[in-house]
Subunit: 152 residues, 2 copies
DNA sequence: TTCTAAAATACAATATATTGTTTTTTGAAG
DNA sequence: CTTCAAAAAACAATATATTGTATTTTAGAA
């Protein structure tokens, strides 16, 4: 850390205490050049995940919206609510790990596709048809071919 | 550090890098329970800036409060989180330069107004309506005239 | 001045972070 | 589909931070 008094770049920690709530670590440091002391705080990055939509507008990530999209794709399929929640949780986890601040809605789509492909081919095709904006039957067929034809 | 995902209190540091300018240390941590990863930042404590509110009460300047006010004004506007953070940072810097110890909350409002005016007219009007306590539609219209009418 | 609570300091035994380098993964572009 | 550059992860050798307890100083109130 750069000493706020003399600007020297090396220092050492004299004391370090975590707050009870685990939200902050306070450190007392000493500049190795001028010996003066200063305090630092370490905090968890607290940013909401922002979703950037196709038209460029931004909004806060909303777990429920994600769930609804997946639920629609799974309608009448033998997939439990728990399973869907698990997927939602996984996707949110991955997104938060992967993107610091912002994620394009398209990226979210990719993650959903990836999960549904593993889970249920019908749900997968339904979701892809919305997400990739299928405009004719051929596109459906092409996609079905890709995952191994009608015998799935 | 308390895991922001599962709340567990123990974690370990996976990576730690100091920024070139020596102002920040970024750490990548992993929760020892859920294994998820998160980022923390350590920064030097600044001398607290005191905000004097309308009723005369004083409190420490709080960057997050400022950010929230601006974020509200920018909701659903095409403005990135990065841009908002940049503005918050600039305003804080200016305030600390301009005012030694204390600053009236009204002064902070003026700074925000100034920045939003440059950035986004809708956000600007929203913020002004709260800050200047608009009480009727006429005041909105008057303000909109001032910035160039409805063709903005 | 005296009292009190909070902040700062000190100390010592133990555990963990740091940092340069390499490898892998990722997202965007061709 | 392939390629490229950037970000993240992995690794390993070394140095430094953490944490419990005790003591001292400071700032504000009485």
């Amino acid at each position: 850390m750069k000493c706020p008094y003399c600007g020297y770049l090396k220092d050492k920690v004299l004391d370090s205490r975590e707050r009870e709530d685990g939200m902050t670590i306070r450190r007392r440091r000493m500049c190795l050049k001028c010996k003066r002391r200063f305090t630092t705080y370490e905090e968890i990055e607290l940013k909401p995940l922002i979703v950037v939509k196709k038209d460029g507008r931004r909004e806060k990530f909303n777990r429920d919206k994600l769930r609804i999209g997946i639920q629609k794709a799974c309608e009448k399929r033998p997939i439990s609510t728990d399973k869907i929640n698990e997927i939602v949780e996984n996707i949110e986890k991955e997104l938060r790990q992967k993107y610091e601040n912002e994620v394009k809605s398209k990226e979210i789509g990719k993650h959903v596709i990836k999960e549904l492909k593993k889970l249920d081919k019908v749900a997968y095709i339904r979701f892809a048809s919305v997400y990739q904006e299928f405009e004719n039957i051929e596109q459906f067929l092409k996609e079905i071919e890709k995952i191994g034809g009608k015998n799935v």
